[in-house]
């Protein structure tokens, strides 16, 4: 009798131990798993993984193909989710251009194009003869105004061509926001610091494409290393297509190129 009872007790103890172990390891798995998972995703940009300190070997460029953008807004949604961007502020946005029969140009970007362009504009009375979409994001200039004007050096340009903000140094003076000719910067109402598109530096450095490029269903957004002669952006830039940058006269030398850009676009 006693032996049966002690066995039952042992079983109960074992049971409680197992439940406890299960609970602890289960919760640990919930908390820790993130980092490991990322590297299981196949590398999207070649030659990055396993070379943590060779950051000046690449020279990244971003190409937006206007002729391919359908204004679905998937890029904007991906971006907002990737960075938890506060409402009313935009790291990237999509503009809709309309030209009426008299060549009058109308542009809008309600909610930054976050909801996609599902219905036509109703406030124009003349027939529209042409329409196209223009995604906008940080131009990652070679000679960036924001880096020049930042009084504390919080905004800087990395050796691989990214213009980034040091969140430990920014004083939130907003001079960089005034200085940026492309209005890609904003003062984040949560952190009270300057914020902008980073071309998903955290993803790129793990061999992944920027979130917006990753989700673009038509391939209108392209990203890659210009030093890699086999990359898509390399081929486009060395190809015969018409490529241009925004506000060339500003003299900032953007690394964001537009394919098929129209003269109406500012």
């Amino acid at each position: 009798m006693d032996s049966i009872k002690s066995e039952l007790d042992r079983d109960r103890r074992q049971f409680i131990k197992k439940v406890l172990k299960g609970t602890i390891s289960g919760s640990l798995l919930l908390v820790i798993p993130a980092g490991a998972g990322v590297l299981k995703i196949p590398e999207q940009i070649d030659g990055i993984r396993g070379k943590d300190w060779a950051i000046s070997e690449q020279n990244f460029a971003f190409i937006v193909d206007i002729t391919l953008c359908i204004g679905c807004g998937a890029c904007c949604v991906a971006d907002k989710r990737e960075f938890n961007v506060p409402d009313g502020y935009y790291r990237t946005w999509v503009e809709r251009y309309l030209k009426d029969v008299d060549d009058e140009v109308y542009v809008d970007s309600p909610n930054g194009g976050l909801d996609g362009y599902q219905t036509p504009r109703k406030d124009l009375d003349k027939p529209i003869r042409d329409t196209f979409f223009v995604p906008k994001l940080c131009n990652m200039c070679e000679d960036p105004s924001c880096v020049q004007v930042c009084p504390v050096g919080a905004t800087f340009r990395s050796p691989d061509g990214f213009v980034l903000i040091d969140q430990k140094r920014c004083i939130g003076c907003a001079y960089c926001i005034q200085g940026c000719p492309y209005s890609v910067r904003f003062l984040n109402p949560v952190t009270h610091m300057a914020d902008k598109c980073t071309w998903c530096y955290h993803r790129v450095r793990k061999g992944l494409l920027p979130a917006c490029v990753n989700v673009c269903p038509t391939g209108a957004r392209k990203f890659g290393d210009l030093n890699d002669k086999e990359s898509e952006v390399s081929k486009i830039l060395r190809g015969h297509g018409v490529l241009t940058v925004l506000k060339k006269d500003m003299g900032n030398y953007p690394a964001l190129y537009y394919k098929g850009l129209r003269r109406e676009v500012v």
Partner: protein
């Protein structure tokens, strides 16, 4: 809203609001007031002697609060010293901390040296806490021998002389903070530092005329007419050059008809029509120009002059305030899309709101009142007190 109006999504917000309009306004008054004092101390305009000491204290009162609007504006004000600890040499903004501090030291030293004989006398006449204060302000030295007075004068002249370029740099530099922003066509002009500097002189001199007349009126003391008339003449001169440059900027660009003009004309004739053309140019510039013509070119009776001169001073104080508004806030109303304009609605109770602005603009005046209890403004007061 016009169907063709398009503002970049991030341009809907006016990031530099009233505090940043107030900041050049206050530093401008500092620089302008210093110029008045230098006209006497360096350029020997004897008629300005009665207000030469007062104008320095006036400058100090405003200088003490010149950085407060910046702190109110900064997103992370606790990091403000980064601007002096880790400055970025390529930034037009990074030098402000140094220029401001150096200028503050020069101004404070000049006041202490000019007031030294007075402070030494007051030290002997007062007791307790005030005596201690005067001892500190004179650095414990009560040597008033002719030799030491002569050294004082040399130092004063040196400080006033280096003070002039520093006052010019302080405010011309503030103008360059705006003039150096190439992305904004209404700011990016080499004339911006010049216009800021001249309008600084205008606001400083106008402020001195207004406050001087006001204090004399309230304390029922006689106004020194020679001083008031000279000061008004200088104000007229500075204002005419200032106004000419402001108009030259608009005129030359509207004549050149470049891309710049097409961007800016929609702003000046659209959202800024009232605050620029009606107020800044019409009511607050053209009317003062005629009043100056009357005051400076005809023989106006002293009793009328005493009323009109501070009135013109007040009008010009408001003119410069409108100019700062139109440049700082107005410049941001134009989107970098060059296709439309955003709107700015000041809040009452915001950190950068109207109440905060009103409190901030009254702080220098309160400090000026406190300073008047330590440093006697007028030479006449001193004669009475010394018997």
């Amino acid at each position: 809203m016009d169907a063709a109006n398009f503002v970049f999504p991030n341009d809907l917000h006016v990031h530099w609001s009233m505090m940043i309009a107030l900041y050049p306004y206050i530093t401008g008054i500092v620089a302008g007031a210093f110029i008045v004092s230098s006209l006497y101390h360096v350029f020997k305009v004897e008629a300005l002697k009665p207000i030469s000491r007062f104008s320095l204290l006036f400058a100090l009162a405003f200088l003490a609060f010149a950085t407060l609007p910046l702190l109110m504006h900064l997103g992370r004000p606790e990091r403000n010293f980064n601007i002096m600890l880790t400055p970025n040499p390529s930034s037009a903004m990074a030098g402000f901390g140094y220029i401001y501090t150096l200028y503050g030291i020069v101004l404070l030293l000049e006041i202490l040296f000019i007031y030294r004989p007075t402070l030494v006398r007051l030290k002997e006449q007062t007791k307790g806490l005030m005596k201690l204060l005067y001892t500190v302000l004179t650095f414990g030295s009560d040597n008033l021998s002719p030799k030491s007075r002569e050294l004082d004068h040399k130092i004063i002249k040196f400080l006033a002389a280096i003070g002039i370029p520093m006052a010019c740099v302080l405010h011309g530099y503030v103008g360059f903070i705006f003039g150096g922003v190439k992305a904004n066509p209404i700011w990016a002009t080499p004339l911006m530092p010049v216009i800021f500097l001249l309008s600084a002189c205008v606001s400083g001199i106008a402020g001195i005329i207004f406050v001087y007349s006001f204090i004399k009126k309230v304390s029922k003391q006689p106004v020194d007419m020679a001083c008031l008339r000279t000061c008004t003449n200088y104000l007229a001169g500075f204002f005419i050059i200032d106004f000419s440059f402001e108009m030259l900027e608009v005129f030359s660009h509207s004549y050149l008809r470049t891309w710049y003009h097409h961007s800016v004309e929609g702003l000046l004739w659209g959202p800024l029509f009232n605050s620029f053309w009606v107020w800044q140019v019409g009511m607050l510039s053209v009317i003062p120009v005629f009043l100056f013509g009357w005051l400076c070119l005809t023989k106006v009776k002293d009793s009328i002059y005493r009323i009109i001169a501070p009135l013109v001073g007040l009008l010009l104080l408001i003119q410069v305030m409108f100019m700062r508004w139109n440049v700082v806030i107005g410049g941001q109303l134009m989107s970098k899309s060059h296709r439309g304009f955003t709107e700015f609605h000041p809040e009452w109770f915001d950190r950068e709101g109207i109440i905060a602005v009103l409190v901030l603009i009254s702080l220098p005046l309160i400090l000026l009142f406190i300073l008047s209890k330590i440093f006697p403004f007028w030479l006449e007061d001193e004669k009475e007190s010394t018997g």
